[in-house]
Structures are given as structure tokens and as C-alpha cells.
Amino acid sequence: MAPNTVNAPIYMDNNATTPMNPRVLEAMLPYFCEEFGNAASRIHAFGWRAEEAVERAREQIARLIGAALKEIVFTSGATESDNLALKGVAEMYQEKGDHIITQVTEHKAVLDSAKRLERQGFEITYLPVDRDGLVDPDDVRRALRETTILISIMAANNEIGVLQPVSEIGRIAKERGVLFHSDAAQALGKITVDVKAWGTDLVSLSAHKMYGPKGVGALYVRGRDPRVRLSPMMDGGGHERGMRSGTLDVPGIVGFGAACELAYQEMEAGAERIRALRDRLQSGILSHLEEVYLNGHPDRRLPGTCNLSFAYVEGESLMMGLNEIAVSSGSACTSATLEPSYVLRALGVGDELAHSSIRFGLGRFNTEEEVDYVIKRVKETVERLREMSPLYEMAKEGIDLSSVQWQT
């Protein structure tokens, strides 16, 4: 089916995870069988070499985000980092206050951590977003209380790629002396992450979204002005300055460092190329099909992300038709909950269009030929499914679907 220029299957789900860069693998390989030491073994050469490798990676990561070495705490990934940031701050600063501000399109790692804290007696404000998916910094300002100890607003959304105004929120947090956490799992390696410019005190990072290995991430924890303290979630040997016990995943950390090093050198050029591919995909689809809607802000967006709703076509059936193309859908049918995407609903996208959404996540290994192939396949599949759709037929007959009494 595929022409010679593209190799199916095509991977366009880079918001879920990215393929590891072979250069990252190369950096990791010696740390499995040869340099297998425990970085905490400060008494022999095996341990020293492992520690050296970890510290080199720490430097590579710190440099990419403008942090100091001591401000990087290694974790198992952004989910753990989010949990540690919210729960660790809540427990450490509970004498100071019990109020936390976040927003409705955060990743579940933040929202569910916040919900757990709520059950424990903390007060949580969930700020709304506008139709483009953006938080209004003035809403953050208005939500602040004497008892507010933390603001948690993501840098880039995983479903729609929208970039929140973190620098503005960071300034507000600074003015009021409230800690500011940002989940930058989707942002790292795609856009500039600068903890100083952002005014963030805590930043969650992940390796596998930026061509590094799975199972490793970090939490940036500001070391001065203010020095952020955290109650650890894991009790044990007191690794990572007591904030995260557990033997370090040396090969994973080396890979994370290598991925950050590559991002530091190549991100700018890479982002331009990916943005051009994304724009080609988006305009290609929009020019070939009517009633396709872009979800999220058109410009304030990650370069590779494009979330589209195809009216009258259900997302899972569209993905089934694109079976040689890996994408993701906000359709309920792809989740266990039977609820369509809470992110799209928060934007005010109707449930019908939320069910019809597809997220295309382009990455550094996608090609122009792949994009053109995907445009063609999306077009033919949407057209075929619309011919099969009673909603399309009704709309063509001039029936206002919102006025129909559905039999459920």
C-alpha cells in the first residue's frame, strides 16, 4: 500500500514517547556490563566511575535548562517528579499554608496528586483555560491566598501542545513569594526550558519524550533564592541529597544526559524542521478536508504537535483506518473510562468533536515523504468514514445536529 518512499508503519505519536536516538544508546551501552558500579559506592573505582558518569549527565541536563548541578534530582520520570513536587512541597510547607493552585488541563500526575492532597485536607484551586487552552495569569494572581504554598502550571500540554505563559506566572509567584512548579515533560528538548527566565522553583523533566530512555527523569529543585525543601516520598539511603532515595539508574541517567547534550546542540535547527513538517501536515489536511478543527492555540504550541477534530468521524475508527500510522486520539474509545479527553472538554470542545480528535505528534525522525503520505491517507480515510457516517448525511441534509433528540 505504501509507496516506496515511506516505510510503514509511520510513527507520529512523539508526544507519547520518542524513539531513542542511536547516539544516546551508544553513550549508555558501557554502563550496563562494564561500568556497572553503584554511583553511591564511594569506596572503589567501580563506584567512582559510575558517579563520574552520573555527574557528567547532571551537568548536561543542568546546562540545557540553565540550572546548577545540585538542583537536579534524578527520578524515574516526570510522573514521579510531579508527585514529588506536589506532595513533597505540601508536606514540607504545610505549617505555612494549605492552598495549592493548578489548572484543569494538567497531566494526571499533577491532577491526581492534587486530588490526593485535597483528600488529606489541602485546598486546591483548579484554574480554567480559555478556548485556546491557555491559563490567564491574572486568574493565577486572583486565586492567590495568604495560605498559598504552591502554583503548579505545566509548560506544554501533552494533548494539544499549548504553551502556558510560565514566565508571567513565574513573576507573579516571585512577587508573592509562592513556590512555582512546572511540568516540562513535553517541553524539554522541543522549546527552550530556562528555569531562571521562567522563574520556576521546581520543574519536572522526562528523558523518553526527548529521544532518551524510558524510566528516567528529573526534578529541578531550586537551590537558592529560595532554597526549596521537599519531604521525600521514598525513604531509604538518602540519595539525591535526601530527596529521592534509591540506587541511581546509571545507564538511564547517562542516556538522559546524552539526550540533553544533543538537544542543547541541535534543538534549534531540529525545532524549525519539525515545525515546518507539522505546518505542512496541518495545512495539507485542512486544505483537503472541510470541517476539520484545530484544537489548541494556533501559534503558542509545541513545534511538533497538531491536534485536529474531524467532524462526523469517530476518532478510534479513524485510527483504525490509519492502522499503519501511529497517532493518538482523544476519543473515549481509546481509554478505559469511556469519557472523551478531559483536556479538550476543558477547552469547551464539545464531546462530539472530542470523540473525533486525533493528535499528530511529529518528531525529529519524521520526513516530508511521511507527512505527504499521512495527508493522503487521512484524506481518503476521513472521506470514506464520512460516507458511512449518519451524522455527515444529516448535516448534508441541513439538519442541525445540536437540535436532534438522540435516543440513548
Binding site: S317, A336, H355, P390, L391, W406
Partner: protein, 140 residues
């Protein structure tokens, strides 16, 4: 989620996609589900009014692959059946034929509802037509 071969076959080669005119004699139309739930099925039957046998069936479905397959399958099954036989089709038969997983059982329920709604619509139409005819006779 992995689909069964039969679901994939119905999705790729759906049987009896299309529409009859709703006003046509002998046609019953059932539309069930709602767009905000992610599934809408339109199922139509064309009934021989003398024999009450379903001679043709058509469907259009907005929904996942399993919903499309369930409606495609039921159009095949009802063809040639009497109305009574068609009413006896159970969603569980669709589940086992298509090997639907538990999260997709609602697709089969919707297909069963759709055929019942189409038959009810057919009956309502023929009853109305009958009443009109009777009324006409009385006028004479």
C-alpha cells in the same frame, strides 16, 4: 487494543452501507446513540409488507470499529429474516460472532437497539398507513 479479524473485515469491507428514503413504503428507520457518546447508528430495513420478511437492510454508523462492525453484521443477519426472527437477535450473539471485548459490548447493544427501533418505525408506519386506509374507506 487488538481487533478480531472479523471486526477488521467488517470495518474494511462494510456490508450494506447506505440509505433508503425514509418515506419509502415498507422502510423502517432506527437511529440510536448520540454524537456526544461517540456512537450513532442508523439502521434501515425494507420489508415485504405481504410476507413481513426483511428483504434489504442498510446502515450508516458514526462510531469505533466495533460499532461499525456490529451494525454491518446485523444488516447481514436480518436480511431474509421475518420481523419476528429479527427481533429475536440478541446482542450477545454479535459479541460472540465478532469476539468483542467487554469494553465494546455497548456497540452490540446499540446494534440490537437499532434493529428494534427500525422495526418499531416500520410497524408504526404500516399501522398509520393502515389506519389512514381504513379511515378512507369509512369516508366512502
Amino acid at each position: 487494543m487488538a481487533y478480531s479479524d472479523k471486526v477488521i473485515d467488517h470495518y474494511k469491507n462494510p456490508r450494506n452501507v447506505g440509505s433508503f428514503s425514509k418515506s419509502e413504503q415498507g422502510v423502517g428507520t432506527g437511529i440510536v446513540g448520540a454524537p456526544e457518546c461517540g456512537d450513532v447508528m442508523k439502521l434501515q430495513i425494507k420489508v415485504n409488507e405481504k410476507t413481513e420478511v426483511i428483504e434489504e437492510a442498510r446502515f450508516k454508523t458514526f462510531g469505533c470499529g466495533s460499532a461499525i462492525a456490529s451494525s454491518s453484521l446485523i444488516t447481514e443477519w436480518v436480511k431474509g429474516k421475518s420481523i419476528e426472527e429479527a427481533l429475536a437477535i440478541k446482542n450477545t450473539e454479535i459479541v460472540s460472532e465478532l469476539s468483542l471485548p467487554p469494553v465494546k459490548i455497548h456497540c452490540s447493544v446499540l446494534a440490537e437497539d437499532a434493529i428494534k427501533a427500525a422495526i418499531a418505525d416500520y410497524k408504526k408506519k404500516t399501522d398509520q398507513a393502515g389506519n389512514e386506509t381504513h379511515g378512507h374507506h369509512r369516508d366512502q
